[in-house]
């Protein structure tokens, strides 16, 4: 029982970590707090769901991820780029506005009802020494680990990835070597929306069905990045797993006593406690303006 909820927790945590990496990426590159990350998860999920009605599932997944990247890219070019240099609060308001727009759009197209999500993994479970791991969790865990690994390889091995970290470190110095900061900002949004879509598809599989409230996964992602530190990649990964596990354990062990829904509140409580001890998150290095 304990082991099983731990595994569920780590799986959800891995996916939260993946989505949170997108948030951290945008913050590191451009100091923009993207309050629409949860909505990007939702939109990615719905694009995949819509495409799967007339395409094979694998093709809809690939296409959904590509279209999400495009969406992220366009959002940066059309909405964020004109705001470069504006006060941080206006930029935050704009990302909040984006979030509402995306929710409105999803509501307008798909309505409020929960829609069944196309299943990537076979039903049933993997059984080892009495520990039962549903295939959807196992698959979700493996795919999120793979996606995080690709993310990390991109930023450590490729010239583009390293140049993006350089922009996060010292924008003018990167420019002096010919790195286009505009391009880097746009690519960070594209990648961020991509990982959000992958996260959305994996969670959609686990939930089995999604509606517009899917975007509330953004709240968990904020908990993750605040816990790990807004600007820390290892922080996002550790924070993701902590929140995922806390949620699973809270659901299994505490919910019976304190009532339903506690599963969703427990990670936030935990976050508050940790914040009281470490105000800049577990791994956050810089002094960050609190919003």
């Amino acid at each position: 029982m304990l082991l099983q909820s731990l595994i569920n927790g780590v799986t959800m945590g891995g996916i939260y970590a993946l989505i949170a990496l997108g948030f951290v990426l945008i913050y590191k590159a451009s100091k923009v707090l993207n309050f629409a990350q949860g909505e990007l998860v939702m939109v990615g999920g719905f694009i995949c769901l819509a495409l799967s009605e007339f395409l094979p599932l694998w093709a809809s997944i690939v296409l959904a991820v590509i279209l999400s990247a495009l969406l992220g890219f366009l959002i940066e070019k059309a909405v964020l780029k004109p705001l470069i240099g504006e006060p941080i609060l206006s930029v935050i308001m704009v990302t909040l506005g984006l979030a509402y727009m995306m929710r409105g759009l999803v509501l307008a197209i798909w309505g409020p009802d929960i829609r069944a999500f196309p299943q990537l993994f076979p039903p049933g479970a993997f059984n080892i020494y009495g520990i039962v791991i549903p295939y959807v969790y196992l698959g979700g865990l493996l795919l999120s680990i793979a996606a995080i690994a690709i993310f990390i390889l991109f930023f450590t091995r490729t010239t583009m990835g390293v140049a993006m970290r350089a922009v996060a470190d010292d924008q003018s110095a990167a420019m002096s070597l010919g790195v286009s900061v505009e391009k880097v900002f746009a690519i960070s949004w594209a990648i961020s929306a991509m990982v959000a879509a992958v996260g959305g598809i994996l969670v959609g599989n686990i939930y089995g069905g999604i509606n517009v409230n899917f975007a509330f996964i953004g709240l968990k992602v904020f908990a993750v990045v605040i816990l790990g530190g807004l600007d820390s990649i290892p922080g996002a990964i550790v924070g993701g797993i902590v929140i995922g596990v806390a949620e699973a354990l809270g659901g299994t062990y505490l919910e019976p006593y304190v009532g339903g829904g506690f599963k969703d509140v427990f990670p936030l409580l935990l976050m508050l406690v940790i914040m009281a001890i470490k105000p800049y998150g577990l791994f956050g290095t810089e002094r960050i303006e609190r919003v």
Binding site: V162, M175, S176, L177
Partner: protein
Amino acid sequence: MANKLLELNNIEVIYNDFILVLKGVSMEIEKGSIVTLLGPNGAGKTTTLKSISGLIKPERGEVTRGTIVYDGKRIENREPEENAMEGIIQVMEGRRIFEELTVEENLKVGSYISGNADFDMVYNYFPNLKERKNLRGGYLSGGEQQMLAIGRALLAKPKLLLLDEPSLGLAPMVVKEIFNIIKRINEQENVTILLVEQNAKLALEIADYGYIMENGRIVMDGEAEKLRQNEDVREFYMGMTEMGRKSYREAKRYKRRKRWLT
């Protein structure tokens, strides 16, 4: 000069639409040469380099008068990336290493536009860096950081390398070493160099030609050899005067400055 790589014609630079910093600066740089730009703090040396590389742009600076001609083309107020792509690479004051990135990753950023991943060429000039290639930039000594800053700029395949006070805050021995390497780079890599310095003595030793800037204007220029012999330069910029009392020196400095400015 038939072989001009860069020419500033009477340029005026303004920050934030109203702070006038360069007040009509003209310079010429011959292909293959080392030219040094000297002058006290706040004279406008860094601004001159940034107006060539385009890095004034993100600081809300603008060339409002005059022209900058590079390789026969006008380039004033272009984007820094575009200039970098055409071979104008600036090594900024204070080295500006990517501290979170390793030495090798710093070099990788240098290869971003050129695709030239010949890190051994850099290690050849700066063997210290090779031993530290997996160390984060922030952990290097000041001298090593300057070497890394120059090394990663080299990987961008510069035709014109703009060096902003490479000697700043470094021990004299290290400065000597770095200046020797700058000279070698100029000769072996076929790179033209514009070197901004406060250390006039060393700069004039490796340079072919020198300009002296004060208060946003060029107040003197000439062959490096001639400047080295010049009494005013020796006194004000090379600290080579035997003159005694400071107050006298100050008075004289004032007088001479006035003379330059008129």
